[in-house]
């Protein structure tokens, strides 16, 4: 991007990257895994196995004909112990396939490197890998890679910003697997006919930046974009702007501004699938928080219960009061610790009561901190007031639907207003025309 271009607004949050530099270690195969059938945006999968079936690692256990769907694979070898309804980390009751592991981790016969020579075969392979956006949104990747306007899409943006506090697993992934990520970028660009590849990394990861700069030396089509340290650099719309200078407004897709954007771990997993044929059956994540004994970066089979992960990290040092799936800015708070890891997971953070304390709200003093923080240039306080009056016209005037829920406004609010949450409600209110639709 040109130097005259302005940066988007944002905030500075304590990084708390306690696990920085810790290698990603695999955890022992769990006794049982609990694999939900809905781990992505779109149609849930239907189980393709029955109770009692023997399954092997990488075997398809759930799929759906619907276009907006990515298949789900067995992450361990063993027997299907149950197919039942359970509350999942997505916050709803879903069909879950429970597999009792036999500990052998036998790969399925279907796990062979795919033959990919053109775009069609590439998209088929991406779908077969079960890939969804691993940055957290879990949008099926093969849909994203197949835009309606392929002729005007020319840039691949890879997200290595990792602006959320605590999380270091993408950083570690970049350091450990830079070569594979670069190969993945080249493959994606080759098959999707993209001319330019940009990896965006915050400057608090100098080793990752140096590594990619060195690797990219002979590839003029690849570029490292060093991002200033500011939250939320890793938000899709912010990263696209910081990489290409183009604004992505609400309701538009990255492809509409000529961009395909993927997380570093998505690119890595695609490259690994092309090389080995092993689909998305495990996820690397950061385990941290002030009640976790030994914070770590780990690689876990999808479906591993959080309690197993905590045990692997030395257990709790105190009573956990808040457990987050994801970072403290945008992560989901879980009601208990029996949920299982899903594809879109990048961290498990557990905190004590002092951290979890919710501060009482006081009156808005019109200080404008939220307005100065909003990367989208919204006026959260005005949206908050309009929503209190259920004023549909004003909510439209203030572009409530353009909020990306990054949480900057809530973070800076001295009155402790839940601005980001209110905005979420306001969005639904506007999209349903005031609840009438």
């Amino acid at each position: 991007m040109s130097s005259v271009q302005k940066h988007l607004k944002g905030i500075h949050v304590d990084h708390c990257k306690n696990t920085a530099g810790m290698p990603i270690v695999p955890i022992p195969v769990p006794e049982k895994v609990y694999i939900p059938m809905s781990q992505h945006i779109g149609a849930p999968c239907q189980p393709t196995v029955a109770v009692g079936d023997h399954v092997k690692v990488g075997q398809v256990i759930g799929d759906n004909e619907a276009p907006m769907c990515a298949p789900i694979h067995a992450s361990v070898s063993g027997d299907v112990a149950a197919i039942e309804k359970r509350m999942t980390a997505m916050g709803r009751v879903d069909t879950v396939i429970v597999i009792a592991s036999d500990g052998k981790q036998e790969p399925a016969e279907t796990v062979v490197p795919p033959v990919v020579t053109n775009k069609e075969e590439f998209l088929k392979a991406v779908r077969a890998s079960g890939m969804v956006g691993l940055g957290g949104a879990a949008f099926p990747t093969h849909i994203k890679y197949n835009p309606r306007n392929p002729e005007s899409v020319d840039t691949l943006v890879v997200n290595g910003a990792e602006c959320e506090p605590y999380i270091t697993v993408d950083h570690q992934t970049m350091v450990e697997s830079a070569q594979e990520i670069m190969d993945g970028m080249k493959h994606i660009m080759h098959f999707l006919n993209l001319k330019k590849g940009i990896i965006g990394i915050e400057t608090n990861k100098p080793d990752a930046i140096a590594k990619f700069k060195e690797l990219f030396a002979g590839s003029p089509e690849l570029e490292v974009n060093e991002l200033q340290q500011q939250y939320p650099q890793g938000a899709e719309r912010v990263l696209i702007y910081e990489s290409t200078g183009k604004h992505l407004i609400a309701g538009k897709l990255p492809a509409d501004v000529g961009v395909i954007i993927s997380n570093v771990s998505t690119v890595l997993k695609i490259e690994q699938f092309l090389k080995t044929g092993m689909p998305l059956i495990s996820k690397s994540l950061t385990v941290d928080g002030n009640v976790i004994k030994d914070p770590k970066n780990i690689e876990v089979p999808i479906g591993t219960p959080i309690s197993d992960i905590v045990e692997f990290c030395g257990g709790y040092t105190g009573e956990p009061k808040k457990i987050l799936m994801g970072g403290p800015m945008m992560g989901k708070a879980l009601p208990n610790d029996d949920a299982a890891i899903i594809k879109g997971n990048n961290a498990i953070l557990a905190f004590d009561g002092a951290f979890a304390q919710i501060n009482p709200e006081t009156a808005c003093i019109n200080c404008g901190r939220c307005v100065r923080a909003c990367p989208m240039n919204l006026m959260p306080t005005a949206i908050h007031k309009a929503y209190e009056h259920k004023d549909l016209e004003a909510l439209k005037k203030y572009h409530a639907t353009s909020c990306m829920e990054c949480g900057c406004c809530t973070y800076v609010c001295p009155a402790r207003k839940q601005l980001s949450f209110i905005n979420k409600l306001a969005k639904t209110f506007v999209m349903t025309e005031g609840g009438k639709k």
Partner: protein
């Protein structure tokens, strides 16, 4: 997994961390920023200044507590905003004002202007400004009986005109150095431009205020003075410009949110101040200027609404 080891965790919407700055921390910073001016007030006018401030603070906090109690609302004295109002109101008064009159001003500021409109964040005008104006029109004599700085008092001259009073009558005014340091007559907290500037710099460094409004306000006063053939330094240091620009025009509640809005607000305050000083019958116009701009603030906010990123001007519906 079926038997969760830790149930009943706290579930709330993201984000799960907040900045350490809250409302009472902001108010505390404003109080800290007012300390240099307080010290100067005591230096210039003696311990009576400190007594007046103490009475105003006590009255404001009491009125806030009592109104909320009577109206059956949650207590808010912990946010320290009443303390700030008390200090600033006292800074706007002659150091020798009878204490009961100051208490009347506190009543107007806290009960009528702040709490009856809904409390902190809802008031349409700065409570301290409104309190001062009511006192000014109600007790005109007491409010314009300015004690001279202690060092300049003699047995038969305890009071005298302020520099702006002298200016209005076309008499000789103190030197710019004296005006800047603050050994002059006037409201107890407004005399020392130096002390107020120190407070202002503290607020900007602590990111409590943005410099936009003070710079536009003071800048406009200086430019207006130049254009009308007056001494800009005199007009900037005289009267309530420094106190008003740094501590009262920057009141979040009654000033615009956006930078563009702040520029309009600051320039408006400066223009009105100078128009009143030069062409109206009052020697000083800061409080009226700020009050008028306070009332215009909602309209300024509406006119300076931010444009959404990526939406061309005029293209949003």
């Amino acid at each position: 997994m079926s038997e969760a080891k830790h149930k009943n965790l706290i579930v709330s919407s993201a984000p799960h961390v907040v900045s350490p700055v809250n409302t009472s921390r902001i108010m505390l910073d404003v109080i800290i920023a007012l300390i240099p001016a307080m010290i100067m007030a005591v230096y210039v006018f003696g311990m009576r200044a400190l007594l007046l401030t103490a009475v105003c603070v006590a009255a404001c906090v009491f009125f806030e507590y009592a109104t909320r109690k009577i109206l059956n609302r949650s207590q808010t004295i912990g946010d320290l905003s009443a303390v700030v109002t008390g200090v600033i109101l006292s800074f706007n008064l002659p150091a020798t004002l009878p204490l009961w009159m100051a208490v009347v001003g506190c009543f107007v500021a806290i009960v009528l202007v702040k709490q009856l409109f809904g409390g902190l964040g809802q008031n349409f005008a700065n409570p301290a400004i409104a309190g001062r104006i009511v006192l000014f029109v109600s007790f005109a004599t007491a409010m314009t009986t300015w004690p001279l700085p202690q060092a300049q008092q003699t047995a038969d001259a305890m009071t005298g005109a302020t520099p702006l009073g002298l200016f209005a009558k076309g008499l000789e005014v103190p030197s710019n150095a004296t005006m800047f340091f603050g050994t002059i007559g006037g409201s107890m907290g407004e005399v020392s431009a130096l002390a107020l500037l120190i407070g202002g710099v503290y607020l900007v460094i602590k990111k409590v205020i943005e410099p936009t409004i003070p710079v536009c306000f003071i800048g406009t006063v200086a430019v207006m003075a130049l254009l009308t053939g007056n001494d800009p330094i005199f007009h900037v240091c005289a009267g309530g410009v420094m106190l008003g620009a740094i501590f009262m025009a920057t009141d979040y509640v009654t000033s615009p949110i956006t930078t563009k809005g702040k520029v309009i607000f600051g320039i408006g305050c400066g223009l009105l101040t100078m128009v009143i000083r030069l062409y109206a019958s009052y020697p000083e116009g800061v409080s009226f200027a700020i009050l008028i701009m306070n009332i215009l603030t909602p309209h300024i906010d509406d006119l300076t609404r931010l444009q959404l990123n990526g939406v061309p001007k005029g293209g949003d519906k």
